[in-house]
């Protein structure tokens, strides 16, 4: 099963390699990983999309929590959340296909952010399903290059990732 995990980590040298090393060393899977500074410049937010059964996911969450530089770990599969990703697509833009491309970009509320005599570079944001739909529609027109950010996620409503202490993984196991 696929899971989106959010982490707050110390914004320090070497933290990313501790996390990626943990995944590779223990044979866990990373589908995507996004990281950047948070509102508090001493902290980075990281969004990881991973797959695994319940036992593997339990280990992933526990092992991440165990890293000294990890402040907080949240698995979004138990929480109502929103998630968005951005994709940049460079497509062939011939005289006759341009109107079609423009129409599609409009429907998907994307933007053309670069133009050349033979190509458009399109930016689209959205959830996975939307990006997938867009890519499959634009594909027949000839995609030259495609770059995705991987999703970032946030809980809905008032819920927030706060720095206080590490999360409980399963009720009762930890009273930390």
């Amino acid at each position: 099963m696929r899971h989106t995990i959010s982490l707050l980590v110390e914004n320090e040298f070497g933290v990313l390699s501790r996390i990626s090393g943990l995944f590779s060393g223990r044979g866990f899977n990373i589908e995507s990983l996004c990281v950047a500074e948070s509102l508090d410049p001493t902290v980075s937010t990281m969004t990881i999309v991973t797959t695994g059964n319940d036992a593997i996911l339990e280990q992933i969450l526990k092992q991440l929590n165990k890293l000294i530089n990890v402040i907080k770990v949240v698995d979004f599969s138990e929480i109502d959340y929103v998630s968005r990703e951005m994709v940049l697509v460079k497509v062939n833009a011939e005289e006759k296909t341009r109107p079609e491309i423009l129409r599609m970009v409009e429907i998907f509320r994307g933007k053309i952010i670069d133009v050349s005599s033979r190509s458009y570079t399109i930016m689209i944001t959205g959830d996975e399903a939307k990006l997938k739909a867009f890519i499959s529609l634009i594909k027949p027109l000839g995609i030259k290059e495609l770059v995705r950010t991987g999703p970032i996620a946030m809980a809905r409503g008032e819920r927030m990732l706060k720095i206080k202490e590490k999360t409980d993984i399963k009720g009762g196991e930890s009273n930390g």
């Binding site: 980590v9 110390e10 040298f13 070497g14 390699s17 501790r18 090393g21 943990l22 060393g25 036992a55 339990e58 280990q59 526990k62 092992q63 929590n65 165990k66 000294i68 530089n69 990890v70 402040i71 907080k72 720095i163 202490e165 590490k166 993984i169 399963k170 009762g172 196991e173 930890s174 009273n175 930390g176």
Partner: protein, 563 residues
């Protein structure tokens, strides 16, 4: 007054109460080496190989309960520590390794004696630091010692570039390490403990399965009291030996691949396993699907990642084993009447176990040859179990675990998780430094002892009267045993030529003794234990002896090959 990084290092160690370091110098250590001149508060033991510095710090830590400290130079000095660090990490030993590094300006340039040791050791340390500014040095040292010793202990590496140790800064050692992202759980959840106690009360065939966590949290007294209060038989992992006296009536011996018949059968037939500070390692569990098939499992561990990793657990309790045992004992104390009946409930079970113990004791075939098991039995008898024992890895380690009855915690120092040959001798040196008056004995094999034999020079230089009993069978015995049992006796690579260990010892300035038959064992061992010098005892044992019982790899615990 400003101080150099090297002075800050020395002052920080003093403030931390560190009285011993195991070290080896090099170009990058020079600032620190110089700052340690005439610092009599810190005993500085210079070894002959950096791996041994780390194993010695490890042996020092295991025997004393204090944090072990090693200090090495950059590049090869640092890379030589990796096996030692990985050994300590697998066995959760509190340790801080200081590696020196090339100048910060040179880092990443493939400079002379440069190695990315923080990167290399990342998966085998609890945490690591590269000090990039001398202003952070004291704070990092404080944090390193805090992380190493707290929670589930482990090795921490601190890499100090040479220009950091020469740069100037104000010195103030922090009183506390405040790490917002690191707060280990020490006290068990009361609700979980209550649930666990209820299960215990309803069990008829309970077993306590305890590991290194009991030793590390100094919980052996509480464990023994708890087992006695409820009549629960106890089996130990290799790391847990000494957690309950080896001659205690409730003790079943070690479990697992070379565990006793009674321990492995008790696990298999149990209806409740109470795991404490043990991590269900494959050598202990055998085939996991058939591990304790009838039992519910309570697991007490300070490290949440150990829980439900290999075996699904029914009642997890995160906490320090000693704290949890104290909490559990309190419940027993408060409800004396209720718990008293438990002795009756398990009477039949205890009887069954006693029967197993009687019918299938640990044994070996006695004949005209000199048996390694006999040698270990004699070491136990002659020391009255009061020695600190280290082992190497292989048959010597398993026979020691079986035939030496560890009466106290912190007397069995062995590389359990990583299984590092060459561990025992330097670890014995470390233990001897911690306890100069104790008898420290390394039970070795002729293969393992060659892996750090150069430390004879260290033992002689510092007059550390470590005794090394070499069970010399001319083979890498454990690998040979597998070849005998599973590879039709093709002894490829395992038949080793060894030097004359008596002469080697003498060449280094130590004492060398030899035993070739059974009647000399007591006489020579007594002589060795009496002298005050480092001593090798080369014991020529039966070359093709095997360790039994044995659970073949991948089989379930009840499928034991017996003698």
């Amino acid at each position: 007054m400003k101080r150099t990084g090297a002075q800050i290092f020395v002052e920080s160690l003093k403030a931390e109460g560190i009285d011993t370091i195991f070290c080896y110098p090099g170009g990058a250590t020079l600032n620190i080496t110089d700052a340690l001149t005439d610092i009599s508060e810190i005993n500085q033991v210079v070894v002959r190989h950096e791996q041994a510095a780390v194993h010695a710090a490890d042996g020092y830590a295991r025997a004393s309960g204090k944090v072990g400290v090693a200090l090495v130079t950059s590049g090869p000095g640092a890379t030589n520590t990796v096996t030692g660090i990985a050994t300590a990490c697998m066995d959760s030993i509190p340790m801080v390794v200081f590696s020196c590094q090339v100048n910060t300006m040179l880092i990443g340039n493939d400079a002379f004696q440069e190695a990315d040791i923080v990167g290399i050791t990342r998966p085998c340390t609890k945490h690591s630091y590269l000090v990039r500014d001398v202003k952070d040095l004291a704070k990092i040292i404080k944090e390193a010692f805090h992380i190493a010793a707290s929670g589930r202990p482990g090795p921490v590496l601190v890499d100090i570039p040479k220009d950091v140790s020469s740069a100037l800064a104000d010195f103030k050692y922090p009183e506390k390490a405040l790490i917002r992202s690191y707060q280990p759980t020490y006290v068990g959840h009361p609700g979980q403990i209550k649930k666990a106690m209820r299960l215990i009360l309803h069990s008829r065939r309970p077993v306590l399965y305890t590991g290194g966590g009991v030793i590390l949290s100094n919980a052996s007294l509480e464990l023994t009291r708890f087992a006695e209060a409820l009549s629960i038989p106890v089996t130990n992992t290799l790391m847990g030996l000494g957690g309950i006296p080896g001659n205690h009536p409730l003790f079943l011996g070690m479990l697992g691949m070379h565990g006793t018949y009674s321990a492995n059968m008790a696990i298999t037939e149990s209806d409740l396993i109470i795991a404490m500070g043990a991590r269900f390692d494959d050598r202990a569990t055998g085939k996991t699907d058939e591990f304790a098939p009838h039992a519910k499992i309570i697991h007490v561990d300070i490290d949440p990642t150990s829980i439900s990793k290999n075996i699904k657990v029914d009642i997890p309790i995160v906490g320090d084993t000693r704290n949890v045992l104290i909490q559990m004992l309190k419940i027993v104390e408060n409800e004396k009447e209720t718990y008293r009946q438990q002795h009756r409930n398990v009477a039949e079970w205890i009887e069954k176990i006693t029967e197993w113990k009687k019918n299938y004791p640990l044994t070996y075939q006695k004949n005209s040859t000199l048996k390694p098991q006999y040698v270990i039995e004699r070491v136990y008898e002659l020391t009255k179990g009061k020695a600190i024992i280290t082992t190497e890895v292989g048959q010597n380690q398993m026979w020691t675990a079986q035939f030496f009855k560890f009466l106290k915690p912190r007397t069995c120092l062995t590389s359990g998780g990583l299984g590092t040959m060459g561990y025992g001798f330097p670890a014995a040196i470390g233990a001897q430094v911690a306890f100069p008056r104790s008898l420290v004995v390394d039970i070795a094999g002729d293969g393992s002892i060659q892996m750090n034999i150069q430390e004879l020079a260290t033992a002689v230089q510092y007059n550390l009267p470590v005794k090394v009993v070499i069970l010399n069978n001319g083979f890498l015995g454990m690998v040979r045993q597998w070849q005998e049992l599973f590879y039709e006796k093709r002894y490829t690579w395992t038949h080793l030529h060894s030097p004359d260990f008596v002469k080697v010892a003498e060449a280094y300035g130590a004492v060398g003794l030899r035993i070739e038959n059974e009647k000399d064992v007591d006489k020579v061992l007594k002589e060795a234990f009496k002298n005050k010098r480092p001593t090798f005892i080369d014991v020529h044992v039966n070359p093709e002896e095997c360790v039994y019982p044995m659970v073949p790899a991948g089989a379930s615990l009840k499928e034991m090959l017996l003698v």
